[in-house]
């Protein structure tokens, strides 16, 4: 937020923007934030062959509209929602991590999540912080056998971002542990909790069928945005990288974060994070490569929760160094927001 205020004062670097500098928080509502606000304001419309808003999932803009109906502005509602969810997510990552990597490492993970270099996205009018909080809270609820809450939170994660559906994997692991010993009613509840995320994905398709008469509106809009997924995509993401880099130099940032994410997952594996979580994280990081580019991996990978537990498992002295460097990069990332989309 401080970096955003600085941008408002300095009106620089201009990049593609100018009007965003008129409000002190303007840069935090830029890029996809404009699209989410547009959905909240006008609803969905699939414009064939052009960038259009069904590429964005509906739950976050629904909350923005509810905020607006309660008397707030769309952007203000988004900023409050994102930052409150981020705060909740930090504590939830610490709480859940204690059972996997121990209290000290979990706290270190929370600290590094708070200053993660790409973490400015969690403060923007983007649904990332809502999804992160929902995913982690869903698993906390599952470990405490509150299956209805787990189902609800898994559904919220999926209705807000398509990657939310992968939460079904750690939920499956949690639900299958002690499944035979559970009573009949609880067994049913566990099954529902695991099915909630895929069901929410179906609900999104049904919603688009109802509003736009096209259940596949999301995938059609994604194609227009240049994101059509193919099995050969991950290979092309690397073979075409140098050509793509010449057009869009910021892809080097995405590649660097891809490598950081993979390295921290190795640390997470060594520190005892359950395998279901690691598979969840790998899916979050690797599935977007199916589009044939590493574009936006730095942002999309933010939802790979074990990354933070992996970082938290570093020795305390290393954690301090990483935290200081991260904070510098976080400020740098925020002030360069007008130049490149996250």
């Amino acid at each position: 937020v401080s970096a955003s205020v600085y941008l408002h004062w300095a009106r620089s670097p201009k990049g593609f923007f100018k009007p965003e500098f008129h409000r002190f928080y303007g840069v935090l509502a830029s890029w996809d934030g404009v699209w989410y606000e547009r959905i909240a304001r006008h609803g969905y419309l699939l414009v064939p062959g052009r960038f259009s808003n069904p590429a964005f999932f509906p739950f976050y803009p629904t909350l923005l509209r509810l905020g607006h109906l309660a008397g707030s502005g769309y952007t203000a509602a988004g900023l409050v929602l994102s930052n409150v969810c981020f705060l909740v997510a930090i504590f939830a990552v610490i709480e859940l991590g204690q059972g996997y990597v121990g209290a000290e490492r979990a706290e270190q993970a929370g600290l590094l999540l708070a200053v993660f270099p790409m973490g400015f996205v969690f403060s923007m009018v983007y649904p990332q912080s809502l999804v992160l909080a929902s995913v982690v809270l869903a698993l906390l609820a599952a470990h405490r056998r509150h299956w209805a809450w787990a189902a609800l939170l898994a559904a919220v994660a999926t209705l807000a971002r398509p990657e939310g559906v992968f939460v079904a994997l750690p939920l499956l692991a949690a639900a299958s542990s002690g499944f035979r010993r559970a009573a009949g009613a609880e067994r049913g509840a566990r099954i529902v909790a695991v099915a909630a995320a895929p069901l929410a994905l179906v609900a999104v398709a049904l919603y688009f069928a109802w509003t736009l008469h096209d259940p596949f509106a999301w995938s059609r809009a994604e194609q227009a945005w240049g994101r059509s997924f193919a099995a050969s995509g991950p290979l092309h993401a690397f073979t075409r990288f140098s050509a793509q880099l010449a057009v869009h130099p910021w892809l080097s940032r995405d590649l660097a974060f891809l490598l950081i994410y993979l390295a921290t997952l190795v640390l997470a594996y060594r520190s005892g994070v359950p395998r279901a979580w690691l598979v969840f994280a790998l899916l979050i990081i690797l599935v977007p490569l199916g589009s044939g580019s590493v574009e936006s991996i730095a942002r999309l990978g933010l939802l790979a929760v074990p990354v933070y537990w992996g970082l938290g498992s570093l020795p305390p002295r290393a954690v301090k160094t990483v935290a200081v460097c991260s904070l510098g990069l976080l400020i740098g990332g925020t002030v360069t927001l007008p130049l490149a989309f996250p």
Partner: protein, 221 residues
């Protein structure tokens, strides 16, 4: 009794509660987010028609006379450079060409408004699709209104277009474009299949084979 009560509560919370919560979520989306109107959806169908075709035939009524035209929206190779644009061949032997690579004109065109209006009234598919898309994204409630065109019911799409107003009339059921109006000038349009023969004929137009510099509009002798 307490155990049985607990069981029942869990059954309600897990077995029914979660699907109910999902239903509430779906209803929330339906109730809270605005839904596009039927007319807006018809307009998106119009955009779909326009990107499906590359050729339009038109009959323009301008100042009491009727002028037939054929417009091709395509990629063109001009002086070693490739660009996207429109080639319009009119019945009075006028040929208009507007090709751009990104925002840059490959054939520099600054048509006087009367000539630009001819290109617009010819209903060149890509040109028209871009105007429909821009207007759709504006979400203006005035964008689509009921109207009549050539004695039939139609929807009028008021396209965001400077410096004059351009109205596209479409079939109110499937969005198929009927015609255009700009001021007192009107045209009826029809999307056509681009056959190899038609393509060869249009690509043989001399204007496409001239050196890059020069006028883009050429009245034939």
């Amino acid at each position: 009794v307490r155990n049985a009560g607990d069981k029942r509560a869990r059954l309600l919370a897990g077995g029914l509660g979660a699907p109910l919560a999902l239903l509430v979520g779906a209803v929330l989306l339906v109730l809270v987010l605005p839904r596009p109107t039927h007319r807006q959806l018809v307009a998106t169908e119009t955009a779909r028609w326009l990107i499906r075709y590359r050729l339009t035939s038109s009959s323009e009524r301008l100042g009491g006379r009727v002028l037939h035209g054929l417009c091709l929206s395509s990629w063109f190779q001009l002086g070693g450079e490739r660009g996207r644009g429109d080639l319009l061949v009119l019945g009075d032997a006028t040929v208009l060409l507007d090709v751009r690579a990104g925002r840059r004109h490959l054939r520099r065109v600054r048509f006087p408004p009367a000539v630009a209006r001819r290109l617009d009234l010819a209903g060149c598919p890509r040109r028209l699709a871009a105007l429909v898309d821009d207007s759709l994204q504006s979400y203006s409630p005035r964008f689509v209104t009921p109207a009549a065109f050539a004695g039939s019911a139609a929807l009028a799409l008021r396209l965001r277009h400077q410096p004059y107003e351009l109205i596209l009339y479409v079939n109110p059921r499937n969005g198929y474009p009927y015609g255009l109006r700009s001021g007192s000038a009107t045209s009826t349009i029809s999307l056509e299949r681009l056959t190899p023969r038609k393509l060869a004929r249009l690509q043989a137009e001399p204007i496409l084979h001239r050196p890059a510099a020069g006028a883009a509009s050429r009245p034939k002798p």
